[in-house]
Subunit: 341 residues, 2 copies
Amino acid sequence: MKLSERKKKILQIVVDDYIETAVPVSSKNITDKYLKDVSSATVRSELSALEELGYLTQLHTSSGRVPSPEAYKLYVSELMVKDKLSAKELGYIKKIFTERSGNIEYIVKDAVKIISELTDYTTIGVPATGSDEQIEMIKLIRVKKNTALVIIVTQSRLYKDNYIELPEGMDEASINGASDFLTKIFGGKTLIEVTETAGDTLLQFEEYKEIFYKVIDALKAYVSQGDNVLLEGEDKILRHPEYTDIDRIKGFMSMVLSNEKMISILHDDGRDININVKIGSDQNPDGLPDGCSLVTATYSVHGHKLGTYGVIGPSRMDYQKVVAVLENVGRILENILSHEE
Amino acid sequence: MKLSERKKKILQIVVDDYIETAVPVSSKNITDKYLKDVSSATVRSELSALEELGYLTQLHTSSGRVPSPEAYKLYVSELMVKDKLSAKELGYIKKIFTERSGNIEYIVKDAVKIISELTDYTTIGVPATGSDEQIEMIKLIRVKKNTALVIIVTQSRLYKDNYIELPEGMDEASINGASDFLTKIFGGKTLIEVTETAGDTLLQFEEYKEIFYKVIDALKAYVSQGDNVLLEGEDKILRHPEYTDIDRIKGFMSMVLSNEKMISILHDDGRDININVKIGSDQNPDGLPDGCSLVTATYSVHGHKLGTYGVIGPSRMDYQKVVAVLENVGRILENILSHEE
DNA sequence: GTTAGCACTCAAATTAGCAGACTGCCAACT
DNA sequence: AGTTGGCAGTCTGCTAATTTGAGTGCTAAC
């Protein structure tokens, strides 16, 4: 079904206006504000045609029109005029990222903050586990008498949040020996390979057996996504008039605060193409409630996934801005990170 | 002003009932449910006396009574019957903590989760920076060609989130030398001492000068509280009928999501006595909005502050449960951590 | 294909009225 | 003196009825 140019134009006006005002848009409103050269009656017939086609809905017979999920989809893919960020905004993004030189954990967190700040919507981020990257180094560092920190370095990442207990009386030389040894046998393999096949590999090394199994456990902990969901601006949803209903707010909050749910919603897009828009509707229940939309972007550097970021808000969302912010943050981020190496 | 036993009893009943039902309590309600041996008229005169004294308020002439902030204060300090946790709950706390053997970062996070889960209120936690603890070891670990991880071990803590850039061509021996050297000159000093006096100390060491200043910067980053506020169950406030008003919800959320605000509210209690209750009111504006209460507890092990935890909710809060949970979590936590060493 | 005009519909706001829940007060009682 | 029953007064919350106004759909004319 091909839409006439005028229908497209009118649909774009309806979506734009509704995004801006949150009020159902009427034929008169359209002719007054945007299309002064036709009468409201003409627009009226176009509107009812668009409704017939499934792009618009009415709350009741005598209210203006509201875009349907279909309309938003079309809007994002064809109708919308792409937005550009101001020099000030671009400068802000660059400034934040360059201040954090090197510290990738912070950069990932900052990205979520920046996106939320510039778009003014709730933003989530799920860092990639990096379990498909090759191990460059494994190192044990004694930090207490019988405790060692397990550090794993891969091409783009550094894992350093797990500890193992050392056998009584293990001396510095054996610790270093174990480190070198682990690096030798697991270097070049990916984390996921190691966690899956490690059992067999290690069976033969009687000497370090005990300690090696503990290291593998630490590795497994790194690979599991865990509670690694970043969230920023969860209260920003409250600014929007469609979130005045307490039950809706509850639904939104419990969704957004559930790590499992967020991970599943952000992860079921197989393709790691850049920007991806999901519009919640009753029909295809991908977990997103009706009236709620999610724009996601997956960033990567040198082919390694860095993580997925999502902006979540009412379907009546400022897609122009959101898409522009996600694209630019991604571009700048990838630029900076790839230069650094 | 001394209250008669019966006034106390009645005040306790009012607070208990209001906490449970969130409905202004009437004289009839009291005689029906709790005090069957007197008439409602008697209770009525007691209630108006308590109102005169400032413990109760009325929304309008023909509504029941609601406790004032004063009433809650008295309730917590004198009237309330202390609650005990069930064996199941105690077991749950122990189980979670012992599963995380050793990993203090996770333990602190888990504590917030446990408290929020058991009390069913929004919970915040501010880990102490540990800047008053003595340094045991400083270690630099090369993780990339020109990047090293800075690890600092103190009596109860491990810092390992900052990196420094290494001078071109620094070899393994010099890195280890620098580590040993830093440990030697700063070992035994507290983090705060080092950040304040380091400049002078280091001036003399031409050789490592460049690298040492970077290490000091990393140290400073560790000491600053930063964005280290843990939050759990921020949506739980929505269950309570007093948070049906959207503006109130907004206020609550923006307060709870502001790290600065939370740190300031949790930190202005000089004494580090165990449990501390703040009841928000219009009068003494300690940042807590009217109708909102905060119960805090500061935990420490071996004299070192571990962090401060706070349960935040409507003034009509289940103080019995909250206080019991905070006390028990603290006790178990301190037990486990002091045994471990 | 476009337009003006008119009838129709429906939500939202306003009003009035009534039932119910409490209190406060007073006079009587123990 | 403290307690009680009873009654008048006050305020909320609910419901039903009414009005207002925005917006559409339809039709006849251009």
